[in-house]
Symmetry: C2
Subunit: 287 residues, 2 copies
């Protein structure tokens, strides 16, 4: 069966809308998300538009700061310093990638960890790793866990989660999240020996490598839950293009117990979890 | 064969003594470690004495601040604030456990991350997880990797490291370190199903659970490298006590390719890596 990411994201947004209501009536706080976009990257523009729309739909305040491609690093740092001390802003998101003359690491390190709703700041990574309270956790990994639970129920204890990929954005944080859920966790990657055999042991298989349709049916234990984080555009024989995941969907689907499609799986969860992080930030740190 | 932790620690100290010399002659910096001990815990006293002795042996400055059991949290925080801005202090270590009236988490969070030679501050955990420069990494996990390389050589790429235990002090950071070494990494724990079968897949097996002699011969793949982090005191039939690891040494030793004994394995590496962290802190952040 397919795990419907669109539906799961819609359900999450409904829950968030209620939490936003409660925050407003009980504490007079309306969670606010400010997205900073530098330059004219078309994919980023579409993405930011969706973020703004969904942020408003759940009753939150959405601000956009659009800056010219030529904006200096110093100017961006000044803007972030202002957002860091603005009590109406609970979440700050600087849309990546940034123009090459701006140091991304420096920008991420400048965002106040308590407003870093992307969860990329080292303080948030560390709080996640240590299981400390108040961590803001990267969005896509949270989406993966929610979708796995959508099929398997809330108790993942004892399940073997195999994660292919070890990026800071997905592979490593999603490994820590499944560990917190009391899964046995294996992190596999390009250097892993006999990767298919390792994957076949998975009760939950997460593919996050960016290689189109790499995971085949014989990599999957019958009945396993397959979470496909990949979004790859491939060219078809007729010259048209198509979005596919890191999992060969048609091959794997008959074997898997459940699988997230691409598109319509993990993708829709990412923005929903960004809203979730903003609500969390407002709840924990809001004044 | 046994992996000799005492010898590896001695070799590391020789290397560190040279680095201390170089730091002094090239930059005029003598790395300084300040250990803060609150109360009269006898085990901590012995441990601190060893730290002081070894710190001096490699040519570093060692300071000890001994505080009465009744010291308030506020007083300790004030002392840490002073150490944080003292340029002659490159490493600060607050000996744990602290008396119950002092909040350990708050103390750890107050130490400047750049001087946190225990590597417990969330900024250091996050820098470790993200692979950022300037992370100070917990000592025992570093010792585990050095001992594994002592037997296997520097290239651990593609080896399967299975870690039993998921503590903040050992299990989680050592998993990240082996991942950085391009190992496939599995984190197993009390909820893992068929733990012996998982362990039998390990090329490198790290036991860090605190359960005396839990790992038996049939948990170990012939030829595997076994790193035993456990230090458990057990009572013998004659009423005497004995230190044993988490691995049943006599049972496993004939099967393993190499194994760290307890005592004399991982233990001696921990202080040596503390000195290493202090030298690193002085190198990276020293003025």
């Amino acid at each position: 069966m397919n795990i419907d990411g669109k539906q799961a994201a819609a359900e999450l947004r409904v829950r968030l809308a209620k939490e936003v209501d409660a925050l407003q009536s009980e504490r007079g706080i309306t969670p606010g998300l400010t997205v900073v976009l530098v330059g004219e990257d078309p994919a980023s523009q579409v993405y930011v538009r969706n973020k703004v729309k969904q942020t408003r739909e759940v009753g939150m305040i959405s601000n956009e700061i659009r800056l010219d491609e030529s904006t200096t690093e110093e100017a961006l740092l000044t803007i972030l310093a202002e957002l860091n001390i603005d009590d109406t802003v609970h979440g700050i998101l600087v849309q990546l990638p940034l123009p090459k003359h701006i140091n991304e690491e420096k920008i991420i390190a400048t965002i106040k960890p308590e407003k870093d709703v992307d969860g990329f700041h080292a303080m948030n990574s560390g709080r996640l790793l240590n299981g400390e309270k108040g961590a803001l956790v990267p969005c896509t990994p949270q989406g993966c866990v929610i979708l796995a639970k959508h099929h398997l129920g809330d108790d993942l204890s004892g399940k073997h989660a195999v994660i292919i990929g070890r990026s800071n954005i997905v592979g490593k944080p999603v490994s820590i999240l499944f560990l917190q859920e009391n899964c046995t966790v294996t992190i596999a990657h390009s250097r892993t020996q006999d990767l298919p055999n390792m994957c076949r042991q998975a009760d939950i298989l997460v593919a996050a490598v960016g290689r189109p349709e790499m995971v085949k049916a014989d990599w999957v234990k019958p009945g396993a839950t397959v979470i496909d984080v990949g979004i790859n555009r491939i060219e078809l024989s007729d010259g048209k293009t198509k979005l596919v995941g890191d999992v060969d969907f048609n091959d794997v689907s008959p074997v898997a117990g459940a699988i997230t499609p691409v598109p319509g799986g993990v993708g829709p969860m990412t923005i929903a979890c960004l809203l979730k992080n903003t609500v969390e930030a407002a709840k924990i740190y809001g004044k």
